[in-house]
């Protein structure tokens, strides 16, 4: 999932013709001052931290400026802030518009209906979760034939728009629908969407692009969420890797089994730290790499829980044995293994030959690893 920062989202909006305030990105107070001084950004303007988290306004990450000097000092105040875990490195400066209404519009997926859904509310400018259902209008949109005229009319009605403003909404919704499909978006959200005169202007932009569609969108390849160095290595090797604050490393295959493993560990008082989903592989090298990665995270004990399907037990056993050979003395960790399923007998035998016992019961193996990590927390 590629979440675009506001200014990047607005670049995409621009491509599809969504009306925007005039604005520019600044990465230093000097730049903020210069952009307002030379008229690139009209005054008065708003200075917004480019972070992915919501609630910037309340959090002091949005300020107003009436002069280049004010723009500079606003930039100084915001740049470098740590906002909900993100460091502010970029600002968006935009003209402040005289608006008469703040609305909400989004397109996202309804998994139950298996349809995109258009969500609008006349109560924009606030967190939409806080708005009661009755004030929110949702319409599923069929990919064939796409957003229809009557759906746009209904949205206009729900937003209390008519005349020129309704026409402006028609164009905006058509643009969002094209964007949602053309960019393989999971979410396109405008909050607030401002009514300025009888035209609509997107004051904010939230765009999330689906990762699975990356092959169609090389343009988003460079924009990624922040990752820890280990997470980055894992990503390169196509291993799902998550770091929590516990002390037990978990290597499993498949998201469901990984989650179930964490559930069981927790039941017995274990604290999962790193967990790592091998996915489906029958390459012992990938298994070895997973263990080497795990070793670098320095867990107090490691739980290998594999149910062999595509990933066969003998493959895992071979990869594990090779990893144990490669892990430096200093990084060694206690290991509890449980390998079941396809080629279980071969895998168990390979481990046994290397001095590792596979415990077939999930319950018993989980208890063993909690003990190895130092017992209940």
């Amino acid at each position: 999932m590629v979440k675009l920062a506001e200014w990047r989202g607005k670049d995409v909006f621009r491509k599809y013709g969504v009306p925007l305030p005039r604005g520019r990105v600044a990465r230093s107070p000097q730049e903020a001052e210069a952009l307002t001084r030379d008229g690139s950004v009209p005054l008065p303007c708003v200075v917004k931290a480019q972070v992915l988290a919501g609630g910037r306004g309340k959090g002091g990450a949005v300020k107003f400026a009436n002069s280049p000097a004010e723009a500079r000092s606003a930039a100084e105040a915001i740049l470098g802030l740590e906002f909900k875990g993100e460091r502010v490195k970029e600002l968006l400066l935009e003209e402040k518009l005289a608006l008469s209404k703040e609305l909400y519009v989004s397109l996202t997926l309804d998994r139950t209906l298996r349809l995109p859904v258009l969500i609008v509310s006349a109560r924009g400018g606030v967190e939409i979760e806080s708005v009661e259902d009755a004030a929110i209008d949702r319409q599923p949109v069929d990919p064939f034939p796409g957003l229809t005229g009557y759906q746009k009319r209904r949205a206009a009605g729900a937003l209390g728009l008519s005349g020129g403003a309704a026409k402006s909404l028609d164009r905006l919704l058509e643009a969002l629908w094209k964007l949602f499909n053309g960019e393989d978006a999971e979410l396109v959200e405008i909050n607030p969407l401002a009514l300025v005169g009888d035209g609509l202007v997107a004051l904010d932009a939230k765009v999330i692009i689906e990762d699975d569609a990356a092959f169609r969108h090389p343009e988003y390849a460079e924009i990624r969420d922040d990752r820890t160095p280990l997470e980055e290595v894992a990503r390169e090797k196509d291993i799902a890797f998550v770091q929590l604050d516990g002390n037990i490393g978990v290597i499993a295959n498949g998201a469901g089994l990984t989650m179930a493993t964490l559930d069981v560990l927790q039941e017995f008082g274990g604290r999962p730290g790193v967990f790592l989903d091998l996915g489906g592989t029958d390459d012992p090298k990938k298994v070895t790499e997973a263990f080497l990665l795990m070793a670098r995270a320095q867990p107090q004990a490691v739980f290998l829980n594999i149910f062999g399907g595509v990933t066969r037990c003998d493959t895992v056993a071979r990869g594990l044995v090779e990893a144990m050979r490669q892990v430096p003395e200093a990084e060694r960790f206690p290991l509890v293994a449980r390998i079941r399923g396809n080629n279980e007998a071969e895998g168990v035998e390979i481990l046994r030959a290397a001095g590792i016992t596979s415990i077939p019961s999930l319950k018993e193996s989980a208890q063993a690893v909690v003990a190895a990590a130092g017992g209940r927390r």
Binding site: R138, D184, L187, E189, G254, G256, L265
Partner: protein, 294 residues
């Protein structure tokens, strides 16, 4: 009888010449499934372990009578492969391929539905019935004929649980791994009526995960329309709350989607909910009529 697959199922494997396609065609045959054809454009006239390969699904259907497809082709081509199989008259397609963009899957789902074709998956282990056939990749070793139906959003966790049922001396009627992608061809709610009317299923095991509202929807359906006993398990009770998909996602799920809401909904619908996978076999055995153990 079983659900969706039977001894009459004739499988065409799309992408049979790839590694996964070849391996799993072999496994399906070992299960006893009639794998009658493979499709890989440009490879017509060759065979993969005696299974004839065709350039198109249409040819495969015409020449071999294939009536189900198992799709292994890479994600960028999966949409085309599915549309091709539906247009060739296939009415059951199991899509093993993972990482298919959901925008593609929307097209695939609605296209198939409009033509009376069922998709299982994508990113799923598929379907298997010990007395019928297997279309997909669930390990053969976990099965034993019996009267427990299984539907699951997971992959390996399904194997774990199905295997647990077997090791407890029970057996399965049909097991369907639905896949956990945002858009699936067959959801719990779609699968439940099949098991309701399956005379070979006495009890259903439902394996869910956190995220989405599929389990809550299933609970609603079970409450109103499902008469057989249900044992459920939800994975991810201990998981930290994942990053939500923006505010719009919250509007859609509105207070659903956590392990807590799912467990509560299923219990309210009368299901026995296991806290851990290894509790499932005992719960099943405790409910299942003695005469229906296998």
């Amino acid at each position: 009888m079983s659900v969706l697959v039977s001894r009459d199922t004739k499988v065409v494997v799309q992408g049979i010449t790839g590694h996964q396609g070849t391996v799993h065609a072999r496994q399906m045959k070992a299960f006893g499934t009639a794998v009658v054809a493979g499709v890989t454009p440009g490879k017509a006239g060759t065979t993969v372990e005696e299974t004839p390969v065709f350039d198109s699904v249409r040819e495969a259907v015409e020449k071999t009578g294939a009536n189900a497809s198992c799709i292994f082709v890479p994600a960028p081509f999966a949409k085309d492969a599915l549309l091709e199989s539906v247009d060739a008259g296939i009415r059951l397609a199991v899509i093993v391929t993972e990482h298919i963009p959901f925008h593609d899957m929307l097209v695939m789902y609605h296209y198939a539905r409009g033509r009376g074709a069922r998709i299982i998956g994508p990113n799923c282990p598929g379907i298997a019935s010990p007395t019928g056939a297997k279309v997909g990749i669930i390990p053969n070793v976990v099965f034993r004929p019996g009267r427990v139906g299984v539907i699951s959003r997971s992959g390996t966790l399904t194997y774990e649980i199905v295997n647990g049922i077997k090791e407890h001396g029970l057996g399965q009627s049909t097991c369907i791994g639905l896949g956990g992608d945002p858009v699936v061809g067959t959801s719990f709610v779609d699968a439940l009526p099949l098991f309701e009317k399956d005379p070979d299923t006495d009890l259903l095991v439902l394996v869910g995960e956190i995220g989405g509202t599929a389990e809550e929807d299933a609970a609603e359906y079970i409450h109103h329309h499902f008469s057989k006993p249900v044992v459920a398990y939800i994975a991810g009770r201990s998981a930290p709350e994942g990053k939500r998909m923006g505010h719009a996602g919250a509007i859609i799920s509105r207070g659903k989607g956590t392990a807590k809401t799912k467990v509560a909904a299923l219990e309210a619908a009368g299901a026995k909910v296991a806290r851990f996978p290894y509790e499932i076999p005992d719960l099943v055995a405790g409910i299942l009529p003695a005469g229906s153990r296998s």
